[in-house]
Subunit: 174 residues, 2 copies
DNA sequence: TGAAAAGTAAAACGAACGTTTTACATTGAT
DNA sequence: ATCAATGTAAAACGTTCGTTTTACTTTTCA
């Protein structure tokens, strides 16, 4: 397996499960299975590595949201939670952990959240046949809420959000 | 001002704005305006201090949710965000930062989230005149979503959640 | 008045942090 | 065959971490 891939995968796993600040480079070196010299050649720095993890995660996550209906957005989130587990949004978490004071990280988060918002607006527009920014904002809140409530309420939170969204969509369609 | 109050207030401010792990005790000592000896006499340890911050925040936050309608829950959250700003849920954040591996913190978070869930179920029951656990789950998701979406979408996210909740409640009342 | 309690300032603790360096081994393409 | 690239293992860099200790100075109140 490619060195860079192994590194990014190990970093995502550790940062997500144990926290960015709480994960030391020694632990990362051990899990990635490479020397610190090689790690730093590929990573640059810890913050740059976190930024690459976020950009990679943005690709994977946004790919799942290439759907045509609002309901499919929630189905996609259900899949994501089943596969990846529910530990909250890694983007918001890593920005909060660093107080927004690490530019590479803050930038990666801003880019992802802007794309996330845009995508929801698009899906709502396709589903409804017209733009509806207010409904899109509600759907965004439900997705964000499902992601975070699932941490302590489990997958039930996602299906609750899905049902709520269905009601809002139905109401907007007539 | 009481030493303990000053300490807890400074800790909450720093942990919330810059992150728990990212905040060093030296910085805390400087902002709280006391010697490290005094700090440790009152705090015990950094983790215990965070736990006390969370318990104190639970008191303040839950006091605001002593209301009789679902709409008032969102009004309370709007107030909270206006006063305290929107940096996500400190409970979920601090648990995530420590990977759930710091018992004092994990316990404080579990207690708060259980109380939060219970309170929403109560308010929904009062508002509706009957229990409705599924609607309560949706309201919880909307509150959690508003809290986290407000980080990057601003107060607009809270009013969107409020409007969505109004629709769900109206539908459940008939 | 005087002993206990509670505070300060500052040095020190060992451990862990992110990162770099030194010295060497393996590989791959010309 | 060899030069350049890429890897390892491990020590070392200086800094910062959370916490404790030492040596004094208030404050409190019976």
């Amino acid at each position: 397996m490619e060195m860079s891939t192994r590194l990014t995968a190990a970093a995502e796993r550790l940062f997500d499960r144990h926290g960015y600040m709480a994960t030391g480079m020694d632990r990362l070196i051990a899990v990635a299975g490479m020397s610190s010299r090689t790690l730093y050649k590929h990573a640059g720095s810890k913050a740059q590595l976190m930024a690459r993890v976020l950009n990679e995660r943005d690709r994977r996550f946004m790919a799942r949201l290439e759907v045509q209906s609002v309901d499919a957005l929630f189905a996609a989130l259900e899949d994501w939670v089943r596969v990846e587990g529910a530990r909250g949004c890694l983007f918001l978490r890593s920005r909060a952990e660093t107080g927004g004071e690490t530019p590479e990280i803050a930038e990666a988060v801003a880019i992802h959240k802007a794309a996330f918002h845009r995508r929801i607006e698009e899906v709502v527009a396709v589903n409804l046949g017209r733009e509806d920014p207010e409904l899109a904002e509600q759907v965004l809140v439900l997705l964000e809420g499902a992601t975070h409530a699932a941490v302590y309420r489990g997958a039930e939170a996602v299906s609750a959000a899905r049902a709520a969204a269905a009601i809002l969509i139905e109401r907007a369609q007539t």
